[in-house]
């Protein structure tokens, strides 16, 4: 390839690198201005400076311009706060790049450009927390690697294209040679050609990919193993806006519509078994309660009274399930989880209100990602319970609040005549006594849910403004969303003297089979009903398993027609959904193990599994029992067993990490071994020249050994036959050994027949040889 083509490619890759860096900054700042300006500068400089060469900034001019820019930025940035200063520095780096772009390019220029863009990425890393950063960083790595490859090729090639002749002074005839003689006798030597490769482009691409891939291995190992010592993450200055939950403590009917199709992620929640710590999926859809409202007035639900938050109860109850929650920054204080809950460890960020109904976070952590783990007794056998024990039976005002109904103002009629009527009729038709709270509540729930009288719709409905919205929903326009269903049920229950309240939170969420967690989006927002049951109404069988059955409990009823479920079921399938799951899981990993990697998580997630994994692997390798098991498994039912195992274990990122770490260690050991072998010169590895295919025959070896006893040694350049003759001559000189003299020659002749003639000795010959050998060995080994 021609060196000019190199340079074009190099310029393109450098440009990509520069633009990527500005894009990374742009993500942090939520602006594309810098990217666009950089693109313009690149285009203009490519045309003006590189291609046509019309305008080139000289070195000194460039220095002055750069100095000016630095001074201006310094002056401007001194007034800014920290974040602003960082951005200013990042911008400054871009300006310096522009100056460089208009200079004639040398490898040095490219290096400077690359360094400046690297600085920008470093700044961006303190501004951008999202997983997008990771993706862009990968691209950046690739572009940067490719740029450096090209830069190297370009500069190395440039060095060899034209080399000046070198003059050597002392190559003349003798020591007294003067300069004149030397000058015209100076040797001129230089390497000439620059060979070209046909597949340079592809080869380079492969190389860049190879480097990136292997770099990523190193990157992950290094990143995860670098020491962390803080428990909490230092928060990066986040440019992200707070996510809206879509509702507040005050819920006004008819205002929910705007959030229902919003797919913003609110939180992720994972349920873990208390003993094994393994995540699992609930058999029913989880109801994650945020808050409860009791007071209804003029189409709006509010809380009765605000209580001061207290630390979480930390008395352990069992059986419990751990819930691991990652909450996005939200515009409300509440957190959503399965109730009832208690703390597994002290967490200063979390508070619970006095009634134990609401989990909130401290004011300071409102605008942050919060991740925590608490326990709940609300899940038994992988199923969320419909009965929540109530710690202390409600009395007086608290209980009265659960029966509150809008009172008819003077001059007004009762707002719910129709509703009362419908509720009473429903019970009457079922022959139910309203005094049996449990049965009555269930009956009324069934009336709304599943009886076919009411329909679910997220569309804003036209309501009769003269009526209360709930009255209108129950009697006239029987179409609405969860708030209408839940509100109507609460009112119907209260009209029959059954205390109830409305719970606000999320239902379900996207189950992510990769990460084994639920991803909760705004569109999962839901309201449902909690019915208060006194001791007398409690269904005993529900609490049969508990040692001390509670004196009161809440029964959860969800009257909303299940339309969402079908929609979700449809969404679960499909490639796109699958892809989104992957992306979301990536997001979780990024948040947890990249941005949020701290000392504790590093220890738990990396060091300990690594240590265990290595230990287990060693155990696995050396323990005979494990090998027995393994053989048995393979022997018994090879495919089935393995498939079972594989299906359960095919993906475990911890396992993957352990495996990767372990293979790195193995590779390192291997390399060290090779190196050590190399350093020791590998004397044992050298192939012997002869006899590597065919071993020296045993009979000859024995002959030599026997003659060695007599002090007769074969010289390397002696043939076996010559040796035998020489040995025979030696033997013949000794009177007592004279009879042995012909034996070596005979043996060697037989040996030659086998060794070089490729024969086999027949029995007679073999016997003769054996006899001769035995005689020799006997005679020569005898101490004399």
């Amino acid at each position: 390839m021609h060196s000019r083509q190199f340079e074009h490619l190099l310029r393109v890759m450098i440009a990509v690198t520069i633009v990527l860096a500005t894009m990374l900054l742009g993500i942090g700042d939520r602006t594309a201005t810098l990217t666009i300006v950089s693109l313009c500068a690149l285009a203009v400089s490519a045309y003006v400076t590189d291609i046509t060469g019309r305008f080139r900034l000289s070195q000194s001019a460039a220095n002055w311009v750069a100095l000016g820019i630095v001074a201006a930025t310094a002056a401007g940035a001194s007034q800014l706060e920290r974040h602003g200063q960082m951005v200013a520095v990042a911008n400054l780096q871009s300006y310096l790049q522009y100056v460089l772009l208009f200079q004639p390019k040398t490898p040095r220029t490219y290096w400077q450009l690359a360094l400046l863009s690297l600085g920008q990425v470093a700044i961006a890393s303190t501004l951008v927390p999202g997983p997008m950063f990771g993706g862009m960083l990968l691209l950046y790595l690739f572009a940067g690697t490719a740029s450096f490859l090209l830069l190297l090729l370009d500069s190395e090639a440039a060095r060899f294209v034209a080399r000046p002749a070198r003059v050597l002074s002392s190559w003349a005839a003798s020591k007294s040679t003067s300069q004149r003689l030397a000058a015209h006798r100076a040797p001129v030597l230089f390497g000439r050609s620059m060979p070209n490769s046909r597949t340079l482009g592809w080869g380079l691409l492969q190389q860049a990919t190879l480097i990136c891939a292997s770099s990523l291995l190193v990157t992950s190992a290094l990143f995860f193993l670098l020491p962390r010592w803080n428990i909490q993450n230092r928060q990066v200055a986040s440019g992200e806006a707070l996510r809206s939950v879509g509702f507040a403590k005050k819920v006004t009917l008819g205002e929910l519509g705007e959030v229902v199709n919003n797919a913003d992620v609110v939180m992720r929640i994972q349920f873990l078994r208390s003993h094994s710590g393994r995540p699992f999926q609930l058999l029913n859809e989880p109801l994650l309660r945020g808050t409860v409202v009791t007071h209804y007035e003029n189409g709006a639900w509010t809380q009765t009274s605000a209580t001061s938050p207290e630390p979480l109860p930390d008395e352990e109850k069992s059986p419990f399930v751990r819930q691991h929650i990652w909450a996005e920054p939200l515009d409300v204080a509440e957190l959503f989880c399965v109730f009832p809950m208690f703390a597994l460890q002290r967490d200063s960020r979390l508070r619970v209100d006095a009634n134990g109904d609401e989990l909130v976070r401290q004011e300071d952590y409102r605008s942050q990602h919060v991740e925590f783990e608490i326990a709940t007794t609300g899940i038994i056998e992988e199923k969320q319970r419909h009965f929540l024990p109530c710690e202390a039976p409600l009395k007086g005002r608290a209980k009265a609040a659960l029966l509150q109904m809008p009172v008819a103002h003077p001059g007004q009629t009762d707002p719910f005549p129709g509703l009362r009527e419908v509720a009473a009729r429903a019970l009457r038709e079922a022959n139910l006594d309203p005094g049996d709270h449990l049965a009555a509540a269930r009956k009324l729930n069934e009336y709304l849910h599943g009886s076919g009288h009411y329909f679910y719709s997220l569309e804003p409905q036209s309501r009769d403004t003269a009526l209360d919205p709930l009255e209108d929903f129950v009697t006239t326009h029987r179409l609405g969303h969860c708030e209408y269903f839940a509100g109507a049920l609460v009112m119907m229950l209260r009209s029959q003297g059954i205390p109830a309240r409305m719970a606000i939170g999320f239902k379900g969420g996207e189950w992510n089979p990769l990460g084994m967690y639920y991803q909760v989006q705004q569109l999962h927002a839901h309201t449902w009903v909690e019915v208060y049951l006194d001791a007398e109404h409690l269904p005993r069988e529900e609490f049969a398993s508990e040692d001390t059955p509670p004196e009161a409990a809440w029964m959860v009823l969800d009257p909303t027609e299940g339309v969402q479920e079908k929609a979700q079921a449809a969404q679960q399938n499909g490639l796109l959904a699958r892809a989104w799951q992957y992306i979301d899981y990536g997001h979780v990993l990024w948040t947890n193990y990249v941005v949020g990697l701290n000392a504790k998580r590093q220890r738990q997630g990396i060091y300990e599994p690594l240590a265990q994994g290595v230990g287990a692997a060693i155990e696995n390798l050396v323990s005979p029992r494990v090998w027995q098991d393994r053989f048995r498994v393979v022997a018994n039912s090879p495919v089935g067993t393995f498939w079972e195992w594989y299906r359960d274990h095919w993906f475990s990122w911890r396992g993957g990490l352990v495996a990767a770490g372990f293979s790195l260690v193995l590779a390192a050991l291997y390399l060290a071994g090779r190196w050590a072998a190399g350093a020791l010169g590998r004397p044992g590895f050298r192939r012997t020249r002869y006899g590597d295919g065919r071993p020296v025959l045993e009979m000859y070896r024995r002959l030599e050994a026997a003659l060695n006893q007599q002090g007769l040694k074969r010289q390397p350049s002696q043939t076996a036959y010559e040796f035998a003759l020489a040995a025979g001559g030696d033997l013949a000189e000794k009177i007592e050994l004279r009879r042995l003299a012909p034996l070596p020659r005979r043996i060697v002749e037989a040996f030659y027949r086998v060794r070089f003639g490729g024969r086999t000795l027949d029995n007679l010959e073999a016997d003769a040889v054996e006899h001769a050998l035995a005689e020799l060995e006997h005679a020569l080994a005898r101490p004399r």
Partner: protein, 389 residues
């Protein structure tokens, strides 16, 4: 082939390592995970650079091919070939540095000259050859090697190199100039005036061929066998080789503190001798005697052949002048050894002292006047009319 590995971090590499360390240290000190990520990501290629070079240089073979012989100031082309024995890995940006050094004396060790050739890429199982060329100005022995193979691939941060003790020698023969067409006559016109006749017998000349008998031909030259076959007389023809045989006596002298001109004269004398031998060896069978008074005297005699030529050239490549102020008597003695029929050419780098020569010859009972002797003083203008370097 002994190999010696070396890793050197380039200047760019130092900068890069500083940046990586700075980013990693900054990230770790302030526990900024993303900065640490960036640092780790930068460390990857660095580590790769350290590993790659080892891999790349492990299974390659480098060889140099020198021409079998060359002359001073002749264009010298040296091929350097690199073979990549790997099964799939292309190796990139391979630089091979060769060292050329003229073998000098103790006081004047020849300066080393490093020459580099460059291979942008060598695919797996491929051999590439690149040459470097140039001119070696001086006769003598040149040493080539060791070869240093190095690469800065992939990122130019680290230079891996491998030193291969692949040493070779090249003997650079003296320059060969051009002789004027009539130079052979110069040899025969002896200043001493005595043109001795050949007393050699008939059969000592080269047999050339047969031709028909002409009146006047000696009967001794009739080839009877062929004559019998043909039925008419056929005579043998013989080549005159007497005129082309030659004895060269050389007084290669140079004062201890030589001027440039004197240095030049020595080189010119050597070139002239080389040229004469070259000319003589164009046809085989000529008889040459070479006697040189030099730092280490040289005495050769033989029939011209490529091998003879090569031997003399090798000897001339290393010959050094002597510093004796007197005319070397060995040249006079040599006259006695030269068959009387041979014309003698005496070459000197100073005015010839015929008296001393005559005396030395007389010591061996030889009269110079009997011989065809021609003296050439290189320092004067004797050589200029019929020899050019």
């Amino acid at each position: 082939m002994p190999r010696q590995r070396r890793i050197r971090i380039c200047r760019e590499g130092v900068y890069y390592i500083l940046v990586v360390v700075a980013v990693l240290a900054g990230g770790t000190a302030r526990q900024l995970n993303l900065l640490m990520l960036l640092g780790s990501m930068l460390a990857g290629p660095l580590l790769f650079s350290f590993i790659y070079g080892r891999l790349a240089l492990r299974r390659i073979e480098v060889g140099r091919k020198l021409p079998s012989q060359t002359r001073a100031d002749q264009r010298l082309v040296v091929d350097v070939r690199v073979t990549n024995f790997r099964r799939w890995l292309t190796i990139w940006t391979i630089q091979v540095e060769d060292v050329v050094q003229r073998e000098g004396t103790f006081e004047d060790p020849g300066e080393k000259l490093a020459v580099s050739v460059f291979y942008s890429a060598i695919a797996a199982r491929e051999t590439k050859q690149v040459s470097y060329d140039g001119r070696l100005p001086q006769r003598g022995r040149y040493r080539f090697g060791p070869l240093r193979v190095s690469t800065r691939f992939p990122l130019g941060l680290v230079r891996h190199s491998l030193l291969l003790e692949q040493n070779e020698e090249l003997i650079v023969h003296p320059k060969i100039g051009r002789l004027a067409n009539d130079w052979a006559q110069v040899v025969r016109e002896s200043p001493t005036g005595s043109q001795s006749m050949s007393r050699r017998g008939l059969l000592e000349a080269d047999f050339y061929g047969l031709r028909d008998w002409r009146p006047g031909d000696s009967r001794r030259s009739i080839h009877w066998r062929t004559s019998a076959r043909r039925g008419s007389f056929v005579v043998r023809q013989f080549e005159q080789r007497r005129s082309q045989d030659l004895a060269l006596l050389v007084d290669l002298w140079q004062p201890p503190e030589a001027t440039d001109e004197q240095l030049e004269n020595v080189e010119t004398a050597i070139s002239f001798v080389a040229t004469v031998i070259d000319e003589a060896c164009r046809q085989s069978g000529r008889y040459l005697v070479l006697e040189m008074a030099a730092h280490e005297p040289l005495c050769r005699a033989g029939t011209a052949s490529p091998l003879f030529f090569r031997e003399q050239m090798d000897a001339l490549s290393f010959i050094m002048p002597h510093h004796e102020p007197q005319f070397p008597p060995s040249l006079g003695h040599a006259v006695a050894l030269v068959p009387p029929s041979l014309p003698i050419l005496l070459i000197s780098t100073r005015p010839i002292d015929y008296e001393a020569l005559r005396e030395a010859a007389a010591e061996r009972d030889v009269q110079l006047t009997d011989r065809s002797l021609r003296g050439v003083n290189v320092a004067g203008d004797d050589l200029a009319p019929y020899f050019q370097v």
